[in-house]
Symmetry: C2
């Protein structure tokens, strides 16, 4: 006699009715008209969110930073954008030489297939990685990250992962909207497949670089180029229609991107230049992801692009792709590549490097 | 000459300084005293979050539900708790027979090792699963889910996964605080290892069941019992100290648990009965996770226990455990087992079932 037997025999019928909606399990299909009604939004009161103790001191410092000073500072002209880019580039470049030094990584400029690149080489490459080659596409919302300022992640991957990395210094908006960045990235990849076997190669990059990583694979499929063995899109801008839920839930919580439609999305608008954001080459979340190589995705719980990342993961799994997801505690957008000394940074890059190691030939 | 060359030669020094903190990459270790200062919290204004279009109509309906009617209705006495449990049980049981029928799953009560169980058997078991056996530990914050009302996930796994499942109807608080539930669950598991080979077995369960799944493995290690081949803790209550960031970021966003310290945590208090929440048997996130079997974790982006889940994932990975994470778009706590007709529900259970299939012997 193991059937549930309520110990309190008399239940208030109204309480059961009130609980029924909350605890009922929907077991029978409802007619589609059941969903035609307007659905109630969630009203979330103002709140103060402390810096958690569940992350390292380095990540705590990043979490404690104020909202990005440029999130709602939207230049009105191309010249204005270029001034902002120059300022961000200068700020970023203050740390880049020391980063290379800390990780013992050498950077060399070059040109491949007519496209500017920076080639990152670690002081020591493990024997198993000598015939392997990674292609990196940087972030910056399709506008920021020119030259060496776009190589931060590539340096970290070279240093933590022990891989040689070609970082594509692709042309950017506002001067060069879509498809310039994608054309450049695919051209470099195609040329790189003559420098290493595609089965020994991976493509990776975060944010706009995550978008480009995914769009590159769509183009590789379309053009019947050889597939890389793996890809690592970090917190990808995979949905430029901004339809994911975390654009709302993490608005004003993420201190990097801050809110949908803010500075980063205005830069993406310059990239799209009036094209339809639903185009899978602009929003690869809406593309056909069948046949993609094994994929590792990285994001954080405070990331405005948390939904982009997990939706891309699910869509890949639905397409039968081997796809792995890592979500870092309390991190906003791309904060897994911001403090080289934080243990989480090493962990994130070593996890991606290990995924590549598992899937790349030698 | 690929070095970055700002196109705007004169930059406002103040702008660069302002951006430096936001865009600098920390490349040099800072002294520990840098973190001694109080860290600024994030002030998040009130907001209205619409039901997203990025999920199925079934999940939209769950998202549109108001906050749980009991989240801030805290009974003052054991009798009050029992009345609330009875009401929730009655509400849940309205859907259980139809759920079994929809998935063609038979439920039989039984007693194993002196512990009440319900045994869920699908109408058809694939040949590869005939020698496999799953043990399920239900959720309900250590107080809810008695009898068949605790079998919803077990029915879904039996139906979607084609596995035979023993669902443990463990003793619960307030009458039976820790370690009763864990003792019962381990006793059933131990007995079950005489019914199937441990390498053909997995343990799974969500919320409190996720806590118990993890704590069971700690006990299995401690008592040198044979390990299961895999485990599937869903959105685990793995940290009863409530230290994760999503307890704050998803407060009033998650419509199931709603906020830290609310009804579910009061039930967990009854389970702990004054014990130290840092004890790894109560908060397995703080346990030694080395030697754990392959683990698949499931959560949603609005889940109050998102941080619990991703922190458990990372801790497992740090311990060298093969661990897979799936995060469902816009779902609050445990909503992946609430609507049997939603494609996401089938997807979540098939993903867990597929992970088990990969790791279990035959």
């Amino acid at each position: 006699m193991n059937q549930p037997r309520p110990r309190t025999p008399v239940l208030a019928a109204s309480l059961v009715a009130g609980l029924a909606a909350a605890f009922a399990v929907t077991a029978i299909a409802l007619p589609a008209t059941s969903y035609a009604q307007a659905l109630a939004p969630r009203e979330v009161p103002a709140k103060t969110i402390p810096v958690p103790n569940s992350v390292s001191p380095g990540i705590q410092k990043l979490i404690a930073q104020p909202l990005s000073p440029v999130y709602n500072d939207i230049p009105a002209t191309a010249e204005g954008w270029k001034a902002q880019v120059a300022a961000v580039t200068a700020a970023t470049m203050k740390g880049v030489p020391a980063l290379r030094e800390a990780l013992h990584v050498k950077s060399e400029p070059g040109v491949i297939a007519g496209v500017k690149v920076n080639i990152l080489t670690p002081a020591s490459i493990p024997a198993k990685n000598r015939n392997r080659l990674l292609v990196h596409v940087h972030g910056g919302c399709f506008v920021n990250g020119p030259g060496e300022s776009g190589t931060v992640e590539a340096i970290m991957m070279a240093g933590f992962g022990g891989y040689k990395v070609i970082s594509v210094d692709y042309r950017m908006a506002p001067d060069f909207p879509y498809p310039a960045a994608l054309d450049d990235s695919v051209a470099v990849y195609k040329a790189a497949t003559t420098m290493a076997k595609p089965k020994n190669m991976a493509i990776f990059g975060s944010s706009a670089g995550g978008n480009l990583t995914l769009a590159m694979v769509l183009r590789i499929k379309q053009e019947h180029l050889p597939m890389p063995a793996a890809i690592g899109p970090g917190t990808p801008m995979s949905d430029l229609t901004l339809s994911g839920d975390s654009f709302q839930t993490n608005a004003m919580v993420d201190n990097v991107l801050v809110a949908p439609g803010a500075n980063c999305d205005k830069r993406a608008d310059l990239y799209m230049a009036g094209r339809d954001a639903k185009d899978p080459m602009l929003s690869p979340l809406f593309g056909d992801l069948h046949g993609f190589p094994p994929t590792i995705l990285t994001t954080g719980t405070r990331d405005l692009l948390l939904s982009n990342t997990v939706r891309t993961h699910r869509k890949l799994r639905q397409a039968g792709v081997e796809a792995s997801l890592q979500v870092f505690e309390a991190m906003s957008h791309s904060q897994f590549s911001r403090d080289v000394n934080a243990p989480e940074t090493k962990e994130a890059f070593e996890e991606i490097a290990g995924f590549f190691d598992k899937h790349l030939g030698r």
